[in-house]
C-alpha cells in the first residue's frame, strides 16, 4: 500500500494516528500525507473506524456503575460464597478447559474426547506461564537466589521431593518460583530467563498416572512439552519455538531423571 521507496511505512501511519510518534515525526508525516492523498484517505478511514467504535461504546464508560459491580458488593458476595479462592480458581480453570478445550490440543486432534487429568495439568501450566511470563516486577514469590529454601518449601507443600533444575549451562538463569493451586492440589512453578529476556517455566504437580510419554502442544505464541515421570507431571513452557523449547526441555529432563536415579 505504501511505496517501497517511501520513507513513511504503514506501521508509522498506524503509530501516527494512535499517538505513538514523537512530535517532530508526527509533523513530518502530516506533511507527507498532504502530498499523498491515497494514503491520507486510508488514514482517514482508520480514524473514522476509531470514531465509530468510540461513538458506539464510549458512553458505557460514563454510565453509573451498577450496584453489583461496586467493590463493596463484590467483596461481600465473594465472602458469602465462602469457598477458598484457590479451590474456586482451580475449579474454574478445569471447567473452562473441559468446556472449551485448549485450542492447542484440539487443533492437534490429539484427542477429541474428554481431556485427561494430565491434559488439564498441562493447560493449567500454560495458563500460569501466560499469566506470569509478562510480569515484569513480580514474576515470582521466592527469588532464584533462595534456591535451597524454595526447594524445601515447595517439596513440603507438594509432598514430593522436588529438584529445581539448574539451567545455567544453557544460559537460563533461575528467576525464582511460586506455589500455585493446581487441579491435583499444590503445584510448583519455576521461572527461568535468558539474557535477552526470553522466559521459560517449569510446572510440577502430582499426576494421576505413574508415567507417560512426552507430548508437545502449541498455541499461537506459546508452546509446552509435558510428561509424567515418577507420578509427577512436568510441563516446560516457553515461546513457540519448538527447537529451542526442545533443547530446554532436554536439559530439564536430564536433570530430573538424574535426581530420580539418585533417589532409587
Amino acid at each position: 500500500m505504501i511505496d517501497r521507496d517511501s520513507p513513511v511505512t504503514e506501521d508509522e501511519l498506524h503509530a501516527y494516528i494512535d499517538g505513538e510518534l514523537p512530535a517532530d515525526r508526527k509533523e513530518a508525516i502530516a506533511n507527507w500525507l498532504a502530498d499523498h492523498p491515497e494514503q491520507a484517505a486510508l488514514v482517514a478511514s482508520w480514524r473514522a473506524q476509531a470514531e465509530g467504535i468510540r461513538a458506539r461504546y464510549g458512553a458505557v464508560g460514563e454510565e453509573p456503575v451498577p450496584e453489583r459491580l461496586k467493590l463493596e458488593q463484590v467483596l461481600n458476595h465473594d465472602r458469602k460464597n465462602g469457598r477458598s479462592w484457590a479451590a474456586t480458581a482451580a475449579a474454574a480453570a478445569i471447567v473452562a478447559f473441559v468446556l472449551g478445550g485448549g485450542t492447542g490440543w484440539v487443533a492437534r486432534g490429539a484427542s477429541a474426547g474428554a481431556p485427561t487429568g494430565f491434559d488439564v495439568i498441562a493447560s493449567e501450566a500454560l495458563d500460569a506461564y501466560k499469566l506470569y511470563v509478562v510480569e515484569v516486577r513480580h514474576p515470582v514469590e521466592v527469588p532464584g537466589s533462595e534456591r535451597a529454601h524454595m526447594t524445601q518449601w515447595l517439596s513440603k507443600r507438594l509432598g514430593e521431593d522436588l529438584r529445581i533444575p539448574d539451567l545455567q549451562a544453557i544460559g537460563l538463569k533461575l528467576v525464582g518460583g511460586r506455589l500455585l493451586p493446581g487441579p491435583t492440589g499444590a503445584a510448583a512453578f519455576y521461572m527461568y530467563e535468558s539474557p535477552s529476556g526470553e522466559r521459560f517455566t517449569i510446572y510440577c504437580a502430582k499426576a494421576g498416572v505413574p508415567q507417560t510419554a512426552m507430548r508437545y502442544t502449541s498455541e499461537e505464541q506459546f508452546a509446552a512439552f509435558y510428561w509424567v515421570d515418577d507420578k509427577i507431571a512436568y510441563v516446560v513452557s516457553g515461546p513457540a519455538d519448538r527447537e529451542r523449547l526442545e533443547s530446554v526441555t532436554k536439559s530439564v529432563y536430564e536433570q530430573i531423571d538424574k535426581s530420580a536415579a539418585k533417589k532409587s
Binding site: A15, D18, Q49, R68, L71, A89, A96, G100, L131
Partner: protein
C-alpha cells in the same frame, strides 16, 4: 492497600466499556467485569506494584478468551448476526455496522484494536496485556483495520451463519 482498591474502583467504568465492546452484550459484559473484580481482589496479595489498570485489562481479556473457548464448543450458540434484517437508517446504522465489523475480527486483533482505540492504551501496554512483542500488537492492529475497512466497504465476507 487502600490505594490498590481505589485504583481498581476507578477502573470499573473503563472495564465495563471494554467488556461491552468485546462481548457486544450488556449482561455478559457486566458478568465479565464482575469476574474480573473478584479475581483481582482475591489476588490482591499477589499484586505488589505496577499498573493496576493494565493488570485488570489482562485479567478481563483472559477471562473473555476462556468464555469464547467454551462458546466455541457449543455450536448452536451463535446468534451473532441477523444479517438479513435491513440496516436501520440514521446514526444507529453506523453503530451497528461497526459492531458487526468488530464481530468479524479474530479475537486477538479485536482485543488489540479496542485496547488502543477505545481504552487508549499505548502499544507497550497492549503488548503487556497480550503477552506478546510490540511488533505483534502492531500487526494485529493493522490486520484489524484492513478487515474492518473491507467489511465496511461492502466486501462483507460470508459471516458464520447458523441455520
Amino acid at each position: 492497600m487502600g490505594t490498590f482498591r481505589q485504583n481498581v474502583e476507578a477502573t470499573i467504568p473503563a472495564l465495563r466499556r471494554y467488556a461491552r465492546a468485546l462481548t457486544r452484550d450488556a449482561d455478559i459484559a457486566d458478568d465479565l467485569v464482575q469476574d474480573t473484580l473478584v479475581r483481582a481482589l482475591r489476588s490482591e496479595h499477589l499484586f505488589h506494584g505496577g499498573d493496576v489498570r493494565s493488570w485488570l485489562y489482562t485479567i478481563l481479556t483472559n477471562l473473555n478468551r476462556n468464555r469464547l473457548r467454551s462458546l466455541a464448543r457449543r455450536p448452536t450458540l451463535s446468534p451473532i448476526e441477523d444479517n438479513d434484517a435491513p440496516d436501520l437508517a440514521g446514526p444507529e446504522a453506523g453503530g451497528r455496522d461497526i459492531e458487526r465489523a468488530l464481530a468479524t475480527l479474530v479475537e486477538d486483533q479485536r482485543n488489540a484494536l479496542l485496547l488502543v482505540v477505545l481504552e487508549g492504551l499505548s502499544y507497550r501496554e497492549v503488548a503487556e496485556v497480550q503477552g506478546v512483542p510490540i511488533g505483534t500488537v502492531m500487526s494485529r492492529l493493522a490486520r484489524a483495520r484492513v478487515q474492518i475497512k473491507s467489511y465496511l466497504d461492502g466486501e462483507r465476507p460470508a459471516l458464520r451463519r447458523v441455520k
